[in-house]
Amino acid sequence: MKKEIEYLIIEKYLQKELETEALLNFEKKLKENVDFAKEVALYIEVNNTLTSRFSNYKEENDLRNTLEDLGAIHINNIEKVIPEKEVKVFSLMKYSKYLVAASLVLFASLVWMNNDKNSLNYNDYANHDTLELVVRGNNNTHLLKAEKAFNTQNYVLAQSELELLLQEDATKVELQLYLAICLVEQNKFELADSILTKIIKGNTIYKNKAIWNLGLSKLKQKDYPSCKTVLTSLPKSADDYTQAAKILKKL
């Protein structure tokens, strides 16, 4: 109980709502009691960090887009230059025709393999089923909002609505699955992968969908070995087996 009162005083201090005398007492305690001072510092740090993360989401996203564009210009350009240099090396070795032929075959297959992997694009395969949660007579606004947001690819809003729904009932695996998809779409892989792994370990009808989406998550992360391992475990009876087979062929 005592702790709760202290947290309220910290909150009032944070909001600059302490009256003069209470403020003086608070500041005196801050100076004299090291543990209390640490408690206050952490409370304020957590508040400020999370407030900044939540309220600057759009700004951060804009910066990410800029960095992605610059990365594509600077890093992909360098990547394209390298094979050209290697071709020049081969041309110098033309006197040794067999070696050249063998090297060219090897080189061509390496390029082919790389191109094949590079042509694997998450967006080409991430054709998510629509979310259908609302049933006649059910006026839960979070259900409506989650469904609408997900089906219009507003994954940020869909995530927060699905989280609210899961707070009401955390056992709904369908909601967990769609929450994980929203997280993958936003590159929040760690949490997404842990949710999907948990679904895979269970024995629900969503198991195969979770395997497929974990495979897609690994593909988006360009973690090809894991992608291969995950997708190999998808049974032939799964809806997404044909698509998974296409990815596996390229891997």
Partner: protein, 193 residues
Amino acid sequence: MERKAHQDQIYIEALLNNDSRVLNKLYAKYSGKIIGLVTKNSGSYDDAQDIIQETLITIYHQAKEKNFILTCPFDAYFYLLCKRKWLNKLNKKGIKAVTILEEITSITDEQEILASETEIFEKRSSLFEEKLIELGGKCKELLDLAFKIKKMQKVAEMLGVTYGYARKKKSQCLGKLTKMIKNSSSFNSLTTL
């Protein structure tokens, strides 16, 4: 004591202002060494791109939330951060620690300290976010709103409760979250320098 900013502080400002012209210079000047570091140590060009981007986002957060001032050249500081991030990633993938072929040899103590500060900042922030998810329930719902909307008066109106009640609930929930953070096993190793 107030820190004196190095002239490379322009890169920190560019992150805060999303200034693509200056950020373009940053990529032109510094991305080569990071690509070398990653591709010579079991990584791809895409890995290098991810490491550069995530490191810059961390620096952006630190500048935004802690008014981070760069007191040394950006070069080695940025390289150190990317290197540590890449090593962590390799460890997570289960790839045994490699002998990093250094692209930069002269790293000062100050650059080491600044890089460690940024690294600890990132780990603390991740711990806060992780524990908020673990908190769950009505408390998370209230805190999400409070963090997004900031003004508690508005939060109270949205929830249909009095301002005093909303503020009290927020203090209880944030207090609970603070306790969870303090009690986590990694917290003690993440003290600020």
